[in-house]
Symmetry: C2
């Protein structure tokens, strides 16, 4: 059965692959799982049909093999478990899953905090004074991540679902524009983006964005 | 083999069970897994011995059966998978894991955002003007969660690891003090806190806090 990913009809990211379906598309391409999309307009996100799949009215969701999942981390873990995107040994698997949670619970929130300050609160009078505080918190996490990645290509043995989630977090512009200060992290993101499955997934979402644009 | 959880020597929460080891202690008590703690002073968190287990210098970690895990979500998932704290059917399991990620990636960050505003930025001149913006974001998520929980005791079938993570997020004072507006959520947290395993885990961490206090 073809897996179905819910995505935006027209992502507000300008086709840059920054919406959260990108990690799921990437994982499905790595796994070689045939999939299609359910394009949702913003108004659809509030509708009962979507809320039954996603209680917070977000994308993505995954319908696959009679199961419904939400949260990109949960979906990528689901795909990773079934398609060899986790280390085969128990110790490596435990590390990879730890890193998946670290990506969404420890890294991404401080990245989104900077994003909110720059975008949602960009014109508020307090933003210039707050940004250095936010950046200090984010830079501490990036420092720690760069230390952990020193001398390694991927977070947990070979490439895994952990790297899909972590690279996806670091690709958010609020983080990526700082990565010049951490060559280890810039190279890590570049390694992720160079993977054939990433390139294919990026093209998939870009084609959809362009089609919606008309 | 006894599982080992890294915890603060003396939690800064005044024994209220708000540090992130509490979710892990609760899960271990639900699972009936014998465990001990590795108490760490703040200075220990920066040391290589701890960084090798936890790249960001946080607590908790879990050492169990030769594996090392970090991130409370990953640890609770690990315990839940092995000890019947996930639904037995594939559809329920997928939902429970989706909810575990939602707790740490969708609910907790907006709760922590309010916490940071009240605590870390409490004396900043912008905080009174920012708080309503933050609370609007948090209240939207709480509304959605209350809708999802309407008529249900737990998030995914019976009690599961998802409830451990979600109740733990909602117990943070920055969320719990708002729950009077959502009787569904207040009752949900109270149901979690009334469980025998929660009570035992709470007593465990409280005894440690009191011993450190001297």
């Amino acid at each position: 059965m073809t897996a179905i990913v819910s995505v935006f009809v027209a992502s507000p990211d300008g086709g840059r692959g920054l919406a959260r379906d990108m990690a799921v598309r990437w994982a499905l391409r790595e796994a070689g799982v045939a999939h299609d999309v359910r394009p949702l307009a913003f108004a659809d996100l509030k509708m009962p049909a979507h809320r039954a799949r996603q209680p917070f009215g977000q994308i993505p969701t995954l319908d696959s093999d009679g199961l419904t999942l939400f949260e990109s981390g949960a979906i990528v873990l689901h795909i990773a478990e079934r398609h060899g995107l986790l280390p085969a040994d128990a110790a490596g698997r435990a590390q990879a899953i730890s890193w998946m949670f670290a990506a969404v619970a420890t890294l991404e929130p401080v990245i989104v905090e900077r994003e909110v300050a720059l975008l949602l609160e960009g014109d508020q009078p307090w933003t210039p004074a707050r940004l250095p505080l936010i950046e200090a918190r984010l830079r501490q996490r990036l420092d720690d991540l760069a230390t952990a990645l020193a001398g390694r290509d991927w977070l947990a043995g070979g490439f895994s679902g952990a790297d899909i989630m972590m690279v996806s977090a670091l690709r958010r512009p609020a983080a990526q524009r700082l990565l010049g200060d951490w060559p280890t992290l810039a190279a890590y993101v570049a390694r992720g983006e160079a993977r054939q499955a990433f390139v294919a997934a990026f093209a998939d979402q870009h084609a959809r964005w362009q089609a919606a644009r008309g």
